[in-house]
Amino acid sequence: MPSGGLLFQSIILGLLLGGLYALLAAGLTLYFGIMRVVMIAHSAFLILAAYLAWWTNDRLGIDPLLSLVVTVPLFFGAGVLLQRGLLSRLRPATLTMMSVLITFAIALMIEGLLGYAFTGTQRRIQLGYGTASFELFGARVAVVKLIAFGLAAVSLAALYTLMKRTQFGWALRATIQHRDAARLVGIDTERTAGFGFGLGLATAAVGGTALSLDTTIYPSLHWHWIGPLMAIIVVGGLGSVPGAAAAALLLGLAQSLLQIPMGATWAQTVFYVALFATLAVRPQGFFGGRLAQRF
């Protein structure tokens, strides 16, 4: 039986981790649930953002969080371009399948270019406060992890509001569901879909930066992330940001706690066990509705 202290420490670590997962999965929820695009390259963009944050810190010596000023608009623009230039040209009938492949291709290119630019060496940001921590009821909370968690919370709240409360959110969903009908009610479907994609990539910029604060990065790291993130959005119910957030917290916590008895490797399987369990019991996910693309 693990000690109470360890249990509590693991819960803290799990929640912090879950928060980060939620942010990383948010973009996927957007593309996937709203636009029916399977964006394999999302985690590659996360790693790209992490590299940019690392690079900013390494070369310019400034705080990696400052890189957000550049990466967020940059990624937003890249998302718009990606959507307008590539995804919008795919046939709607085969969009899902083809989007898998085209985004896979993008992931490969990002990985290759990162390797070319920064080599395959593992990198880690060296921060003055990298090992700083404070005590909370007997558990230690690392400052960097808390910052990442905070970034996640803020971005998710912003995203949720945007989708739920603005015309843009509605227009985006209408565009995806029936493009012609959306055009006929006066929606600029091209622009809307582009912005939607840009938004997803913007979350990748934030997520990647948060990720870079407390982890090692290397070009092929994105393969490691894509599985858990996909599992999260399925468990959360495709397309539901609150669902993804809840699933992320839950699975992060479960992973962290399961590591106590099972060890790190087996604990990772919790994502896939949850994925299969979800599909078997409730294919629509545990937090979203069946047809629901509710925000």
């Binding site: 360890l6 420490q9 080599t119 395959g120 880690r124 090992t131 690392a142 092929s220």
Partner: protein
């Protein structure tokens, strides 16, 4: 250069084929080994080459740390490029498959970095590990030292965390076996896959068990991450030992210089008194602008071993010559920058590693006693 054309000698270069993990998981040490090979080729060529004037030409391919790739690379080097000699890549995981290719083409295979036990129980007859000791023996001196401590001082509990990698586990479990036999209790024994980046939970488990000593079976980055995670939890062991990572030049910076007292085994020391080592350190520093570390030395040693065999056998090409080289190495000792090396029938070297410790902002040899540059600090200061 001897250009007299007699006895099969010519001035054709001797082409040495190598595949290295220049990208991917092992790229950092892989590039270290590459420098070692390059230094060997340059130093040898500057002295006039081998076999009376044949220059050494390296043909290096990148296997991306991928076992499928490494096989294809050696396949290409031997089958298509018709290189004269091949030497090994970095990491046990790549050495095993590539050694088999060499074996099946009847080639000699001297390698710089296949230290784990499985390299030597595959039945390879052509393989030689060009370093003093295999993974399990890396901590031998440390184990002896700890077990010799008086009862009150001896660490009582130890936590182990090892990457799921034959080499990394080999080092940690080599030590574990000896300490357990000596009555030291294991309180945590964690294994993590090579791609792990989040060490929070493992660190939490270790910190909660409050062991006297922590041992990390690490390659490079995982060691750094584990140390940072332990420091985030403010865990202060009496002793901390990690394989490979602490000897890397980037290490101190990577963990924010909180290196106090960290131990690491090493097969190489820049100050080692062996004859060729002085020349190596000097010329390497001239070539690359900094002193060589363990990976560079391993590459260089590999070259030295091959060169000795080639000179002794008087040939370097595919075919019957390879068996002559193999036979010669099985029955002789070679002097290298890591000392004299000789091998058993499986290609296993017969020495032991030294133990280094971070003292202040430098890493110094502390064990064995006859080679030490400083005294081992125990318990170690807080990090």
């Amino acid at each position: 250069g001897g250009d007299d054309g007699g006895g099969g000698g010519s001035d054709d270069p001797i082409v040495v084929g190598i595949s290295l993990p220049l990208t991917g998981d092992f790229s950092e040490p892989g590039k270290g080994v590459q420098e070692g090979y390059e230094a060997w080729a340059k130093i040898t060529n500057d002295k006039g080459g081998l076999l009376g004037g044949r220059k050494i030409e390296l043909k290096i391919l990148d296997d991306q740390s991928n076992a499928d790739r490494v096989v294809a690379d050696y396949e290409q080097l031997i089958g298509s490029d018709q290189v004269d000699l091949v030497v090994g890549p970095f990491s046990t995981r790549l050495v095993v498959p590539s050694a088999r290719v060499a074996q099946e083409y009847g080639m000699l295979f001297v390698e710089p970095a296949g230290a784990a036990a499985e390299v030597f129980n595959q039945g390879f007859k052509n393989l030689f590990y060009a370093a003093p000791a295999v993974a399990d023996d890396h901590y031998n001196h440390l184990a002896e030292y700890l077990l010799a401590l008086p009862a009150g001082e001896k660490p009582e509990t130890v936590a182990y965390a090892a990457m799921d990698d034959p080499f990394a586990q080999g080092t940690a479990y080599g030590l574990k076996k000896k300490l357990e036999a000596g009555g030291v209790k294991t309180v945590v024994d964690e294994v993590y896959p090579p791609n792990t980046t989040d060490f929070g939970s493992i660190a939490a488990k270790i910190a909660a068990a409050k062991p006297d000593m922590v041992v990390g079976g690490s390659q490079y980055q995982d060691g750094v991450n584990l140390i940072v995670a332990l420091q985030q939890l403010n865990y202060q062991p009496k002793l901390a030992a990690f394989s490979t990572a602490p000897t890397n030049p980037e290490f101190a910076k990577a963990i924010g210089n909180k290196t106090e007292g960290i131990l690491s085994p090493t097969g190489y020391s820049q100050d080692a008194p062996y004859e060729s080592n002085k020349e190596f350190v000097e010329k390497f520093t001239a070539q690359f602008g900094r002193a060589p570390e363990e990976d560079q030395a391993n590459g260089y040693t590999t070259g030295q071993v091959v060169a000795a065999a080639v000179e002794a056998a008087g040939c370097a090409e595919q075919g019957d010559c390879q068996q002559k080289l193999i036979d010669w190495l099985h029955s002789n000792t070679v002097d290298t920058v890591v000392g004299p090396l000789k091998w058993d029938a499986t290609g296993k070297p017969q020495g032991a590693h030294m133990i280094q410790q971070w003292v202040g902002d430098d890493i110094k040899i502390v064990l064995p006693a006859d080679a030490k540059e400083a005294d081992l600090v125990y318990p170690k200061p807080a990090w």
